[in-house]
């Protein structure tokens, strides 16, 4: 059986090794015997973009889970998208570690609060978090919002709270961030492009 590059990826269970070998162009002439269904064969493939640098390498994410309502799919392997015109299947050492970002033990899982002066995190529900934050926002905005400047010009600005927007969040999240901050009257809005 001849395998093409794609099938070879699917036969190759080892994450980094698979990508590297394929990048070097070492494709096997003969495939291994199909003794059982390989993990990659059962995987769903999802296209995404490396979130690190702005080369914007295309990636393929492989996950298990059949998409049933209660089955949570989990990404177990990521490699470069061979169809992508910029990276043509390659990833650098940053992108090659992406699956470890998704599964980092330092991922945050629950809303938490650190109270004034406290030395610990305390869990709270989303509803509590939203309510408490909205109260802070309202109190500060109501107290410090400037409707007119000294010359009587309508300025409708709120300077005592600021917002630092992201560097890797999507345009769609960015647009909602713009709507959110500007409708509150915020001017202290900046993003990673500043630094």
């Amino acid at each position: 059986m001849q395998v093409n590059r794609r099938q070879f990826f699917k036969l190759c269970a080892g994450g980094m090794a698979g990508s590297t070998i394929a990048t070097l162009g070492l494709l096997p002439e003969k495939a291994m015997a199909d003794v059982r269904s390989y993990k990659l064969m059962r995987a769903s493939e999802t296209r995404n973009t490396c979130p690190y640098c702005s080369v914007g390498c295309g990636i393929l994410m492989y996950s298990l889970g059949d998409g049933a309502k209660n089955a949570k799919s989990e990404i177990f392997h990521i490699e470069g998208d061979p169809d992508h015109p910029v990276n043509r299947g390659a990833l650098c050492p940053k992108g090659a570690g992406l699956v470890d970002f998704i599964h980092s033990p330092n991922r945050l899982k629950y809303p938490e609060v650190r109270e004034a002066g406290s030395n610990e995190w305390k869990r709270l529900s989303w509803d509590e978090a939203f309510t408490r934050i909205a109260k802070h926002v309202k109190q500060d905005r109501d107290a410090n919002f400037i409707e007119k400047n000294a010359d009587g010009v309508t300025v409708n600005r709120w300077l005592s709270t600021g917002f630092l927007a992201a560097s890797a969040s999507s345009n769609e999240a960015g647009w909602l961030t713009h709507k959110f901050t500007r409708s509150l009257g915020m001017l202290a809005v900046d993003n990673q492009a500043r630094v």
Partner: protein
């Protein structure tokens, strides 16, 4: 980038300066190697360190950090004095022949109009001479001494090879070679591609570093050409997009400007920003400003934006000054800020003078963190010994930490440095209770809106007027938001050329920004994104990678702003008469009726060759600017100013004006600047191949590859200080210290500068007190709190330190 990653392969010369693509943008850098192997291109690297990019270069030259303008101005001098520049291009496509205001001058380091008390310029003389109609005067014979090019010649005449060697520490022969390599690409069929990144932006003269290079590209005739252009590699995956969307203090989407209090009415605002022509027959595309602005307002406020209320003009905040992050943290430090949101951003690690940042955050009432990972900003109140020595109990800031999904757990688009909007798909659910950013913003916003409805409060009008037409208000979907950004027709849009026909029917998604109107009949959140999601579907999700021309413009892959154009200013790839400068690089051509080609023409489609219209269609005179008019803070021509912390303690060109005279410096920060007697070494920060900023220290594979903090010093300095490879050293600046392992290397050499020896210290940035790596110090403990005069980007790349064995 004016061009894009794959296009780098078309270059004949690649200059990497102010960047280190092999390590910071490894896969993109493959296209530079492709140019070398397929196109016999030469790769030239100019950097204080012999980087991995340098290791595969044809030619490497060292340079002292912070002196790029000197070297590049020397190149301009060489090109102008030897006549090795593209004269036809320069005359036709730049403002070389235009006449400058008679009172414009430059003397002893200062341009005309300087106000020392305000540290600002009155820029009224930084202008053209105008005729009775208000159009710029020109002299095509170039004999008038006030021609831009003659003033430029005079300005750069000081930058001789000796001056370059003396200031930059770059050997004269190396500088000569750089000049000759660049000059070769003034031939119409040769191009240079400059690749740069934060090594140019993160200086108090960052914007002028880039400008000097852009001027070289104009003189060489490389703008608009395949294999040419100016190519900002950009630091993060979507800072391009988030900047496009106006997420900067005084910006609006699509590079519009937020109104200030000096424009109290819509009329005064539109009059200010609607561009008036400076030459006859120009496209002057910013004359369409009202269409972009009104369409943006319709997206923001929906039906609440009407002609009667000036499209909701009073609902937008009006600024008195910019609140960039340096300004804002200064206010926070003074105790004038109560609340702060950090969305996927880690200022404790990313901003200069980490101790000042931590002090500032400690003075907040509340801090909201939205992030997929544990950041040092979220735990700034924890004591981590020497690495974060705070008194937890004294810090009264309430900190909310909200878990967000990451890229793999959401749909959406991000913009790479080639301006490609690429759509991505969700592959799994986020961990635990993580929510997407839109869900979190919606959660807070809807709560707040309900509180205002119930209890009233200050100016709820803008909150109540914000358009929120999402199927599930608690979960605005990426498709809904993307369509809002693209924009739609709010009424039938009649076709002026075909009466009875319509360009778009009411409710249809717009095919592009050409249809935008200033009368409220269109909406578009970000005009440059118009065309990204049309009636034909999601253009950002397209995956046709075919490249019929072989030049790499895969027009069917994703979607590039503006209008799916891959190479900006591509009209300049043809001579004024319409023939290409280089047949092999034909991007567009005139077919007798209109411009067509392998790229989307960046020009008025039916404007025939030979007309007066210039290729730089966003400019009021249609020309590339060798003289920047009033667009820059510190001068219309670039000038060498030393970093705010200079190892020389002087500026050899003008000792009275040492550093950027227009840069902003807060009082407390001025006191925290070090002098070379105490802190003698020139330091610079940078990234490594294996890490991305402060994120990958949380990813196991990357943490294994580079587990421990280090700094790099040259062999001469190590000998002088008795430091051996692997020793623990203490690196200190006026603002604090870090401790790290010393890597003693041949790759950093002492440079002879202005009669003294300057040593560089290299400080990779990737460690902190959180993560899976060994704990480390925040590198930005060392860096100074001063920014570029135009962008306020901090001077991370040039500051002073001392080094001792710890």
């Amino acid at each position: 980038m004016t061009n894009h990653w794959v296009d780098i392969k078309n270059a004949n010369l690649i200059v990497v300066m102010g960047g280190n693509a092999a390590e910071a943008h490894p896969v993109g850098f493959r296209w530079a190697i492709e140019a070398k192997t397929r196109n016999k291109a030469k790769l030239l690297v100019i950097d204080p360190r012999f980087t991995r990019t340098a290791s595969v270069a044809d030619f490497y030259a060292p340079i002292r950090t912070g002196t790029d303008i000197t070297l590049l101005s020397g190149v301009i001098r060489y090109l102008l004095e030897t006549g090795k520049y593209n004269k036809e291009y320069t005359l036709a496509y730049t403002n070389a022949a235009l006449l400058v205001h008679p009172d414009f001058s430059f003397e002893d380091g200062l341009f005309s109009g300087y106000d020392a008390d305000k540290r600002k310029y009155d820029k009224s003389t930084w202008a053209y001479q105008l005729d009775e109609k208000g159009m710029a005067k020109r002299d095509d014979t170039l004999s008038d001494p006030r021609c831009v090019i003659n003033l430029l010649k005079q300005h750069v005449s000081r930058y001789t090879a000796d001056v370059v060697a003396n200031i930059c520490g770059t050997p004269k022969e190396a500088f000569q070679a750089i000049c000759e390599h660049l000059a070769e690409t003034s031939a119409p069929d040769k191009t240079t591609s400059f690749l740069y990144a934060l090594g140019w932006t993160q200086h108090s003269i960052g914007a002028q570093n880039i400008r000097t290079m852009a001027m070289i590209q104009l003189l060489l005739g490389n703008m608009g050409m395949a294999g040419g252009g100016i190519n900002a590699l950009r630091g993060h995956s979507n800072i391009q997009g988030l900047t496009d969307l106006g997420l900067l203090t005084t910006n609006l989407p699509g590079y519009m400007t937020m109104p200030s209090e000096k424009e109290p009415t819509l009329d005064s605002y539109l009059t200010k920003y609607t561009s008036k022509p400076l030459a006859d027959g120009q496209m002057n595309y910013w004359q369409n400003y009202p269409k972009f602005f009104v369409s943006f307002m319709k997206s923001m406020w929906g039906d609440k934006a009407t002609a009667d209320n000036n499209w909701g003009y009073d609902l937008l905040p009006k600024w008195d000054k910019g609140y960039d992050v340096l300004q804002y943290f200064e206010l926070m430090h003074q105790g004038k800020v109560n609340g702060y949101f950090c969305q996927g951003f880690n200022p404790v690690a990313s901003f200069p003078n980490k101790n000042k940042i931590v002090e500032s955050l400690s003075r907040l009432k509340f801090l909201v963190i939205m992030d997929p990972l544990t950041t040092e900003t979220s735990t700034f109140w924890q004591n981590h010994g020497e690495q974060n020595d705070v008194k937890t109990a004294d810090i009264k800031t309430e900190v909310f930490r909200l878990p967000t999904t990451c890229f793999a757990e959401e749909d959406g688009s991000i913009v790479n440095s080639g301006r490609w909007l690429q759509w991505h798909w969700k592959g799994a659910e986020g961990p635990g209770q993580a929510l997407t950013d839109p869900q979190i913003l919606a959660g807070i916003f809807l709560k707040l809106k309900a509180m205002y409805a119930k209890d009233g409060g200050t100016f709820p009008d803008a909150i109540n007027s914000l358009s929120w037409a999402y199927g599930d208000p608690h979960e605005p979907k990426p498709e809904e938001l993307a369509k809002e950004l693209n924009g739609k027709a709010l009424a039938d849009l009649p076709d002026p050329k075909n009466p009875g026909q319509f360009l778009a029917k009411k409710g249809e998604l717009l095919p592009g920004f050409a249809l935008l109107q200033a009368d409220g009949s269109t909406a578009s959140g970000c005009w440059i994104f118009a065309g990204s999601w049309t009636q034909a579907g999601n253009q950002m999700a397209r995956r046709d990678n075919s490249d019929p021309s072989g030049l790499g413009n895969t027009l069917g892959w994703a979607w590039a702003w503006p209008a799916n154009r891959r190479i900006l200013y591509n009209r300049a790839s043809c001579k004024p008469d319409g023939t290409p400068w280089d047949k092999k690089r034909t991007l567009i051509k005139w077919n007798g009726e209109k411009w067509v080609g392998v790229d989307v023409p960046d020009f008025k489609a039916d404007e025939p060759p030979g007309s007066a219209m210039g290729p730089f269609i966003m400019q009021a005179e249609g020309l590339g600017r060798l003289f920047a008019l009033d667009k820059m803070a510190e001068g219309p021509f670039p000038e060498h100013y030393e970093p705010f912390e200079t190892p020389l303690g002087t500026n050899p060109l003008h000792p009275k004006v040492i550093s950027n005279p227009a840069a902003r410096l807060f009082k407390g920060d001025k006191e925290q600047l070090g002098q070379h007697q105490q802190f003698p070494y020139a330091a610079t920060t940078y990234r490594l191949t294996e890490h991305f900023h402060y994120w990958t220290k949380h990813a196991r594979l990357n943490a294994i590859m580079q587990p421990e903090q280090f700094v790099e010093i040259g062999e001469e300095l190590a000998r002088e200080k008795g430091i051996a490879h692997g020793d623990l050293v203490k690196v200190s600046s006026k603002r604090g210290y870090i401790k790290a392992k010393a890597v003693v290397t041949k790759r950093i050499k002492a440079l002879k500068v202005n009669g003294q020896l300057v040593h560089h210290v290299g400080v990779p940035i990737h460690w902190g007190f959180e993560g899976l790596t060994k704990k480390g110090f925040i590198a930005n403990t060392l860096t100074p709190f001063v920014g570029d005069a135009n962008t306020q980007t901090p001077e991370f790349k040039s500051f002073l330190v001392n080094v001792e064995k710890a």
